[in-house]
Subunit: 288 residues, 6 copies
């Protein structure tokens, strides 16, 4: 900061937002460009550090990325399909776990700590954080198919998250679950973020995406979207693909007491600060 | 904040300073223009609130001001002099106490709270915070004269300050002391600030003044001033008048473990944030 | 104490009362002769100290006194009236605040500390303790008149009181409130005491007055007075004037969980100890 | 208490003493008439309760009494002597333990609780409170004789005492020790009191006796007695018999940090309150 | 342990039971052979110590035994009978208290501590732990007779038990109660155990007896017995005598939230470990 | 456990060892057969769980294993050598991290939790746990060669370990360090275990190996080995290869206050319990 007093005003404008969110938990689903583009990683990490410094409690849930596919390809792992769905066999889930937990998670944790924060990584196996079971998969024909070790969450053990939060750390969570028999599950990170926000009673859930937000049929940004309208847009296939679990996750969190859920544009540097510290906010807010 | 991402950078530039001062106490001597000019009061209060929000612990010591003289005049209180010095008799000290504690202190506390902070006022009588005795006064002739109830600090009871700090409040302290016999003393606020910084082992002591800092004999700002040079300038009467207790106060705090003492220009809006969150700092730093 | 064993008995007679009130809060409205007569001040302060020493938690709310009028007179402040009511303009409320907070409050705090207690003064502005609004005033004709900055309590922030109580201090509270716009209000101290007792869920509320208690139409002391009978006596103007807010305050506290409310004779030295440590009690007890 | 205000003064005279001893531990050796005379038991228990109520922490160590001899006689237990000394064999120590722990201790605990206090009895076996070994006994001829299970203290485990004190209880301790092999020892209660005062770093040690204090060779009360003079009086046999362990115990405590040790007249009702709450004190103070 | 790895398995088999009972309270009624036979005392004490070491919270309630009768006989105390019932007069209750509290309790506490545990004895008089009243006694004719100081429990003050448990101690409780007038009561230890389990909301209540468990009319062990069947067996006099209060005690605890109540064979060494750490358990389980 | 009382004795024999190590930290270097052989994994996990259940605080540091080489081979990663040493380039350290943190660590954590424990994995990047720098490598010729990202520990941040231990978790640590520039280092797991034991002031450090212990030149087990003798055996190349860092690690821990360091045979099931709960212990104890 130079000694330009006008710049001080910027700090002060953040005051009402800091007051609103102090001591509250904000779950951030981190993925897409914000996680992959070199120029966006550091702004993300700085946002997280700043939140913690002003007394807000960020919890990060990250997804996977092209690194999983790249490693599978290098290992000559042939994709198998059942009814058009990719099957996650044991070897695949092992690769997924190695990349998510041993590479992506550690890179995020390392960057936050390197820039001055205090982050600790958690996998869903740590302290039985994410208890999972096989997620049933049904073909459009109604037939149920076995696509392997793709899980859905049965229970979240918030104890290790609370422990780290209370001690001033930022928990960074990889979306790997553990089954009743000790088996490993790959779980959709959007859904993990929603379940964790629900279990923590988080104040806010923020999804970082690679689009501006949710667009209507004429490609205009929808600033607030309620459940009914969301369902209409989903049946009309205006909302589809990767946006579906983000909607599901947001509604899940809202139903369990989270106050606000947002789908925002992670390609904008410092999108999190802009969302939290701006009156209008950015992207699309989901409401019940 | 608008959604201008460049503005976010300003917030982030504050990070290293926040990290440095988190959890530490900063004693601020508040007085002069910053306290009297309507346009400077709110920036001061906002600075204090922001410090607290980012985990820094400000403690305010305020001075008096023209309001004391104004009330004395309205009450027809005739100033008495002994050996050229104004005498503080019992009636005077009562008026001083009413204005300091019942008017100025409450206005500061009220403003901070009104803007969203959590301040509590303290007089040196509360919990025996400032135990004082008569400050001896010697004429240039060497003769000692009795100028009445002007005190100097014997002991600081930090218990109520710590209690309020730990509970998230900003203590705002009026420079009134109490003697062994229960009598009231008017004490120089600069010296009170130094004694409190010393007793608390504060990280920083900041004096807000109506000048740019300490100037040398050619009226250039001195950015760092050590004790020896300060003594030279004082004997040469380059430093004189109201600046003398600020120097004395700063040296007192530094000797007791305070890391840094500053004399800065309170006429600059947000001078405190600028001092704390700028690499170069502003004004004059006093060193041992 | 001499070594006269009969005197020890006196100490022991206090045991059952100490047991009954240990750890409980007793709100004391302090005013009138007990606050103004030189010979009654010290007995009051000693009573308060003793309560605290035996584990009872006194909270003092004090009123104003002749000092306010005296200062206004010296300042040549002309009283204004609307519909027969004295108007409290901004200048008046400033004088009231200076005297209440800067003079009376500090004298009480100073005396308790001087005699060995641990008191801290609070104004309603400290930590937003007393949030107030304009008290509507209606003439007997039903016409509403604006009598200025006379307030009534909207909310009590008990946090600073609890903080001080838990740390072993005696909070001493001046009846000054703060409005939503930051403006200062003069509030009837009897009503403040009732609201504070209600907010704290105090065990007891004690009003020190300059009469023996509440007298019936034949001037005999009423030892217990219920709401219905109180209302009858008020409409019959047997109870009137300054006694009205004491009744209102007592009923307010009782409705919010305070166990007992008393109106006692502050002209009796150590009236508080006598009330608390006597089976019959003294003065009038108000019941629902 | 009647409403006689003069009686209130008695309460207030206790204030400075309460302030001095608040939060501090006072070890009281309870025995003799104060424990045996029906009219003195209740005053003793009330004194203890009052101390606790005003924040002082009494710890009681009691002795035995005629009940031990009475039971031994009824059981037809023949006293055995070696070199003129009564031998404490296993059967004897069992009887001693039953009476001390099962009868006297319980009677004291029961009385304090019945009168409104919170007492818990401890034997030296509880939590290994009093670790003991055989006390060597030497005849005047220098020959060492075995008088059986008479112990001396090796170590005090203050943990259970602190636990009870901190939770607001009055610990009442029977002078029974336990050896390294689990065997039971009868220990002189005066010496136990001194060791416990030493281990706790008690503020005061008070011995209740059946005499006025220590008398000089002309039977005048000595108000302060130092070690050197005590030794002189012991070699002159002016101090002898049961007074010897009280002197030893007092010196032991004083050497370990206890501030004051007193030998007072337990036949005076409320002797403890008189000692603690009187400027002159009563009986004899032992000093180093 | 030798280095035989098969022996390690034994330790590990205990794991699921340790997990189940960690942090939970188990009330053990200790009596009969387990308390009287020299070869069974140490196994009992070791079981208790092990429970505490693995995080389970044992609370011991012990009974009397032949020592009471023996002492009464030695003291030439003639038993008196009213309507065929032994009368407990004041002298008798004094002897009972001495033996229970001063001998049996101390022997148990001493043994546990000697073997490395941390036990503290409590009588029902300590901290008013067991508030009792006269237990009404009715002859088969329906006539009520006064059999003296035999009590039943009115209220249990769990505070001292919790205090000791939380600090890592094993409370060992003698079944002596105290009446409203301070009088001492002898109470059936089985019933005391049930009331204490009920008051603590203990997880388990275990009665150590001198039989294999409850036998049916053909002398076969009943492994689970419900209330209805118990009542049938009691009216058929299949269950009678000393087993009756054990049944009553078990049902009382179960009704107040205790999960399981057991009557097991205390003649088997380490019966407690076997009951707690065995899938089948031993003896008879009582259910509602 | 069957109801065979002799088996209970085994539990009780563990008592003195439990008492000795309760509340103390035991660092276990986990690797070799114990980590790789299917039949040894579960006994290891059960040992760790049992330790925690009886109040001992295990901290696991694991090594790598054949999985690293296997993945490198599958990825066609050609080993490079400088001066005969394998070079760890960036791609290699990435693979190492993925396998250590994302596979081995998670398998250990998962198994402990699956069997009923509470484990949380940590990498040296979490909370900056292991701050590392490049480990200098010198050829026998004295020439220094750059073998890449092989690190040595500069500092251990014990905060996250303590946090997890205090909350009842077992920390499981992967030997990956982070440099000042954020770069990743592969560190020898034996040395990591020694540094962590040193930083924690652990009571014990246990290395699980694939040999019986340290053997002398005639292949006999050395039960205690001091530094001097170790140095002799190292220069004589009796101790060499993978045993060298275990010796270095043990001495490092012992110098920093660890009481005991052991090198034991991990091929023996339940080697940890045998070491901790056996008087003679197993394997070799290293002493200063």
């Amino acid at each position: 900061m130079t000694t330009d007093p006008r710049r001080v005003e910027v700090l002060l404008e953040a005051l009402p937002y800091i007051r609103e969110f102090r001591g509250k938990t904000v779950v951030i689903k981190y993925g897409g460009a914000a996680m992959e583009r070199a120029d966006l990683k550091e702004p993300f990490a700085l946002d997280v550090i700043l939140l913690r410094f002003v007394g807000i409690r960020p919890v990060i849930v990250h997804g996977g990325g092209p690194q999983i596919g790249a490693l599978m390809k290098r290992l000559g792992k042939e994709p198998r399909f059942v009814g058009g769905m990719r099957v996650t066999d044991e070897e695949t889930v092992e690769i997924v776990e190695m990349v998510l937990v041993g590479k992506i998670n550690k890179a995020i944790v390392g960057l936050i700590n390197h820039l001055g924060g205090k982050a600790v990584g958690l996998s869903g196996k740590d302290a039985g954080l994410l208890r999972a079971r096989r997620r049933p998969h049904r073909l459009p024909t109604g037939e149920e198919v076995d696509i392997g070790l793709v899980g859905e969450i049965e229970a979240v053990n918030t104890e290790p998250i609370r422990l780290l939060e209370d001690a001033g750390f930022v928990p960074v969570i990889a979306p790997v679950g553990v089954g009743a028999g000790g088996e490993t599950y790959n779980i959709n990170a959007d859904l993990v973020a929603g379940e964790i926000a629900a279990a923590l009673g988080a104040e806010k859930l923020i999804h970082l995406t690679d689009v501006q937000g949710i667009l209507d049929s004429e490609a205009r940004l929808i600033s607030t979207l309620n459940r009914k309208e969301a369902e209409r847009l989903m049946s009309a296939a205006v909302i589809e693909g990767g946006m579906l679990p983000k909607i599901e996750s947001s509604l899940r969190a809202l139903e369990s007491g989270t106050s606000k859920a947002h789908i925002i544009d992670g390609r904008v540097p410092h999108a999190i600060l802009l969302e939290l510290f701006t009156r209008e906010g950015i992207g699309t807010e989901i409401v019940l």
